[in-house]
């Protein structure tokens, strides 16, 4: 026993010594550490932190081709993006995030506003962001963190939102949409026209909402208001009493077994709906499209109380300056120049600069996605897969109708801390 231990022990030591020596040699030589440094000095690289919404491979490939900027995606959930900005502001260059998180991000001082004068298409950005109305002049509901309330800062390093236009823009708008309930028309078999249906006992055990507190509570508020139980002054900024009331209604429904499950992830929502576990739930537009592309009927149902909307845009980390800042401007300008906008429009989102996106889309595509007209030809996704057959009409119709019907925006409330605690209580009930 002891003999064998000794021999193997010796050979293992020799081996270890050998490898350690090699590793030391490699580390000391500088050959390894030097290499990526030389490379990165030549290439224009931007680290892009965001959710998966805007992060298509096609977009980064096209961007590299057009501008020579290499985009490195860092993908995270909405919550994790915010967390990362707070805790590791130097781990990214360009930030793609939602307007409602600005109430947290701007006071932290970790992000840098961009200069509107350096954005070529800034004046062509849809009035949805700048004035709170559609290009056709329809007034948009402003409850919650509507983008126009937080679009401008008072000064370059200011932490205060300006009430009128300045050149310091918190987030350069990129993408937005109007969300509503998704339904399975084949299983419900009757028209659905109000948010109140989510808590209709008819759908007991077959309903679902989003388990992201700041978004879920907005859907809950739409339901409470639609059922006539209460009228909020501002759904996006409730008082403690209003939070209590909203959660009470939801808790009662939960205890009665109304909800099959809550979802948090895009794919979860698709699975719940496609498998028929739920027939009515809060949903995102591309998720509805995905269910439909599986051959299962699913409608992104317009409701009379209106839509809950969200929007996101670009800013940069406070650590970005010099050449890198110029690349960031170049990238943002490229993003608004049409290719990316068309790409987003084809997924059912909306692009911030409509004119450039239109130039990159076929007229029949524009007519289907933006004008609410029946599709002249088959509608295809950016990856070429079939989304809708010729003759189909987009749920909710045209851009004017959908964005014009927005009632409220995703929000961070003043009483956010209280709301989160109540949400935990709701889950535990």
């Amino acid at each position: 026993m002891s003999e064998t231990t000794r021999t193997t022990g010796v050979s293992r030591r020799t081996l270890l010594k050998g490898t350690a020596g090699l590793a030391g040699l490699a580390a000391g030589s500088g050959a390894i550490t030097g290499f990526p440094y030389v490379k990165s000095a030549d290439a224009k690289v931007l680290r892009y932190l965001g959710t998966a919404v805007n992060e298509g491979d096609d977009i980064s490939k096209q961007c590299l081709k057009d501008t020579g900027i290499k985009i490195e995606y860092i993908t995270a959930t909405t919550d994790d993006v915010t967390k990362r900005v707070m805790t590791q502001p130097n781990s990214f260059d360009v930030l793609d995030t939602e307007y409602f998180s600005l109430k947290k991000l701007v006071p932290s001082g970790n992000i840098l506003a961009l200069d509107a004068k350096k954005i070529k298409e800034f004046d062509n950005i849809t009035p949805v962001f700048t004035k709170g109305e559609t290009p056709g002049g329809k007034k948009i509901g402003g409850q919650g963190t509507a983008p126009w309330k937080v679009l401008y800062l008072e000064g370059k390093d200011s932490k205060k939102f300006a009430t009128s236009a300045t050149e310091f823009v918190t987030l350069i708008p990129t993408v937005y949409n109007a969300d509503t309930l998704g339904i399975r028309p084949d299983l419900i078999k009757r028209p659905i026209s109000t948010w109140a249906e989510l808590l209709n006992p008819e759908f007991k055990g077959k309903a679902s909402i989003l388990n992201i507190p700041s978004i879920g509570i907005m859907d809950a508020a739409m339901v409470v208001e639609a059922s006539g139980k209460y009228k909020y002054a501002d759904k996006g900024n409730m008082t403690k009493e209003e939070i209590d009331l909203t959660m009470k209604v939801m808790t009662e429904a939960k205890k009665a077994g109304q909800f099959r499950a809550f979802w948090k992830d895009f794919n979860e929502s698709v699975n719940l709906m496609a498998s028929g576990e739920t027939v009515i739930q809060s949903m995102w537009s591309p998720a509805v499209t995905k269910v439909r592309s599986m051959g299962i009927p699913c409608t992104f149902q317009p409701l009379k109380e209106g839509y809950r909307s969200w929007a996101s845009g670009f800013c940069v980390s406070k650590g970005v300056s010099g050449a890198k800042l110029e690349w960031a401007y170049e990238f943002v300008n490229w993003f608004l120049s049409g290719y990316a906008g068309a790409y987003l429009n084809r997924q059912g989102y909306y692009s911030a600069v409509l004119a450039t996106a239109k130039a990159h889309m076929e007229p029949y595509e524009w007519a289907y996605w933006m004008e609410g007209k029946p599709a002249e030809k088959d509608i295809k996704a950016p990856d070429g897969s079939l989304l809708e057959k010729a003759g189909a009409v987009r749920d909710g119709g045209s851009y004017e109708d959908r964005m014009g019907g927005v009632a409220c925006w995703n929000a961070v409330m003043d009483e956010n801390d209280y709301m989160v605690r109540k949400w935990n209580e709701f889950i535990a009930a």
């Binding site: 030591r13 909800f259 499950a261 605690r421 535990a428």
Partner: protein, 319 residues
């Protein structure tokens, strides 16, 4: 078994070089306790750097204040008072944290009991009925199959099996046992326990198997010769000797289930409270001190359970 010389060889490679006498001299200077410190040292350092120090930070942060976007390093009990909000005022109704822990403990107990039962018999089978070492190895590797796919895929895969239109429901409907699909099989406590048992029985099997395989077979023969029945042998010989394995397996399962929020979340349709879930929600809302306070509470409760268990069996002595 190993002589102290052997231990020295493994611990300090440099000592084997040099003349035999010099080696003896140097070896004599190293006390055995120093050598054991040297052996435990690397693990201790890892433990210190990646567990103890972060833990100290968690405890410190749990007593800080916070606002929407930053930590405020001022002493504050807000993380704790918020957590226990309403625990006295709401009586006799339970507050959120009490409800959450009751639920977590209930799930934990069920999973523990079932994994122990299944794990014990799987280990028993592997240790006493499978004769060849190769088969023992092969069969215990089979127990790792649940870990071959990612968590998310595994969760999604339960839907077509247990769902409203799933395999089990349609099978039962065809045989005429039920008329309507059964709903409690998915997004319920049942499905949570099922998924956890499916995952973690393995952590029971391995330590119990490890204890059983080391039981001297002659003890069992002696029991047989002394006229003990199979059941008496099991209760009086095998279970006492497998105790360390049972306790280690239980510690694995209990600590994992107490902190789990992903499996409970997905299988429970996000409708079942879990201690870990509260922490996640708080962290996502950037309320780090509150999350840290909840983590400290979870740690304390888990530690309490484990202390109670090690009171029952002195693992150190048994190993």
């Amino acid at each position: 078994m190993d002589t102290s010389e052997d231990i020295l060889h493994q611990a300090s490679p440099d000592l084997v070089r040099g003349s035999e006498t010099a080696r003896r001299k140097r070896a004599a200077r190293l006390s055995p306790s120093f050598v054991s410190w040297l052996q435990a040292g690397p693990m201790m350092l890892v433990f210190l750097a990646f567990f103890l120090i972060p833990l100290v930070f968690v405890v410190i942060v749990s007593f800080w204040d916070y606002n929407e976007y930053q930590l405020l390093p001022a002493l504050s009990g807000r993380g704790y008072t918020d957590t226990f909000e309403g625990c006295i005022a709401q009586l006799p109704e339970l507050c959120t944290i009490a409800k959450t822990y009751l639920k977590t403990l209930k799930l934990c107990f069920m999973v523990w009991a079932i994994t122990l039962f299944i794990g014990f018999w799987v280990a028993y089978f592997l240790a006493f009925h499978v004769k060849s070492k190769t088969w023992q190895m092969g069969l215990s590797l089979l127990c790792t199959i649940p870990f071959w796919t990612s968590n998310v895929i595994r969760m999604i895969a339960w839907i077509p099996l247990l769902g409203r239109n799933g395999l089990v429901n349609s099978g039962l409907m065809k045989t005429g046992l039920i008329n309507h699909p059964v709903e409690w099989m998915l997004f319920s406590e049942f499905s949570v326990v099922l998924a956890l048992v499916h995952l973690f029985t393995f952590f029971m099997v391995v330590p119990i198997f490890n204890s059983m395989i080391r039981i001297d077979k002659s003890l069992i023969e002696a029991a047989y010769d002394a006229g003990a029945t199979g059941f008496q042998t099991l209760v009086n010989v095998i279970i006492p000797l497998a105790k360390p394995g049972i306790v280690i397996g239980s510690i694995f399962v209990i600590t994992i289930v107490m902190g789990d929020f992903i499996t409970i979340g997905v299988m429970g349709g996000q409708q079942i409270a879990a201690a870990g879930k509260i922490i996640e929600t708080r962290v996502n809302a950037l309320q780090f001190p509150a999350a840290a306070a909840n983590a400290v509470i979870l740690l304390a409760i888990t530690f309490l359970i484990i202390t109670m268990m090690s009171r029952i069996v002195d693992i150190k002595k048994e190993l």
